[in-house]
Symmetry: C2
Subunit: 171 residues, 2 copies
């Protein structure tokens, strides 16, 4: 009976914390979704500040980073591995050919649908397992390097670039 209570208490704590981080992640995603509704193609093609990344590059970059959650969380391979070269390994100025805005919006939507579907099925406990890029040995010493911490770090990353995307309004 006491062991059961112990499990329930820990499980509730974990569920609470997972909810906090997923809510923060969802909030960032909703803001990007909303911006994508509002911004014209002309605005998305504009630089967020003189000489800085365009909306197109930023959306491609965020999509490639979210797509990377699939392998690092052990869900699947990337849906769009071709984005890595253009939006992660090279800067905008590399002039590699970029997908169309319509395709990018589609990629963004599909990656998020896939992630969300998986999150809905994950148990709170799963989030506290190690992510793929950390060794079992390191994880034993540093248990904060878990899957939920990956999502937390991607959430602040997304917010960082959202602060730049918002500059496109009024362009």
């Amino acid at each position: 009976m006491i062991a059961q209570q112990e499990n329930d208490s820990i499980s509730n704590e974990k569920e609470l914390f997972v909810k906090m981080v997923i809510d923060a992640w969802d909030a960032q995603n909703s803001k990007v979704d909303q911006l994508l509704e509002e911004l014209s193609d002309k605005q998305l093609k504009a630089e967020n500040a003189p000489g800085k990344n365009t909306g197109v590059y930023l959306i491609g970059h965020l999509t490639a980073v979210s797509d990377g959650l699939l392998p690092i969380l052990g869900i699947s391979e990337r849906l769009y591995p071709q984005l890595e070269e253009v939006f992660l390994k090279n800067p905008e100025k590399s002039d590699l050919e970029k997908p169309s805005i319509a395709d990018l919006k589609n990629f963004w939507r599909n990656v998020n649908l896939k992630i969300k579907g998986y999150f809905n099925e994950m148990k709170a406990e799963d989030w506290f397992g190690k992510h793929v890029a950390v060794s079992a040995e390191d994880f034993a010493k540093e248990p904060h390097r878990n899957k939920l911490n990956v999502l937390l770090s991607r959430t602040t990353h997304q917010s960082y670039h959202l602060g730049q995307l918002i500059n496109l309004k009024g362009k």
Copy 2:
């Protein structure tokens, strides 16, 4: 003995969550600190994008928001309540008189020192208590509205504006 184990397990889980969020918060703060070392006064006075907030306004805004952690977490009154009117309740264009850059950097440092000192003394358990702006009744229904969630939300907020401050490099 089992009750002790239960307490230990829950306490360890909570310590892990708290570490994850405070690490994320610290990482954002360090990045702002580093930018403040690098940027000249001329760069800080520049707009992060044409017609958008200057570095001065963004630093004042972030300082005022961090200062607001003191009352909402029940630590103390704000250290610099005069920042609220200029950097929270009014936009940059209001032309209210702003503190000097030297003063702002000082305020930023002092607020962060005060917060950090308090965080070092807080127990993990304290973070899961309700923050000041939520009623006991609402908190019973929505236990995710705790102090740690406030810090999580301030962390993504800081990252958002950091994405804009970084635009000042090279100005």
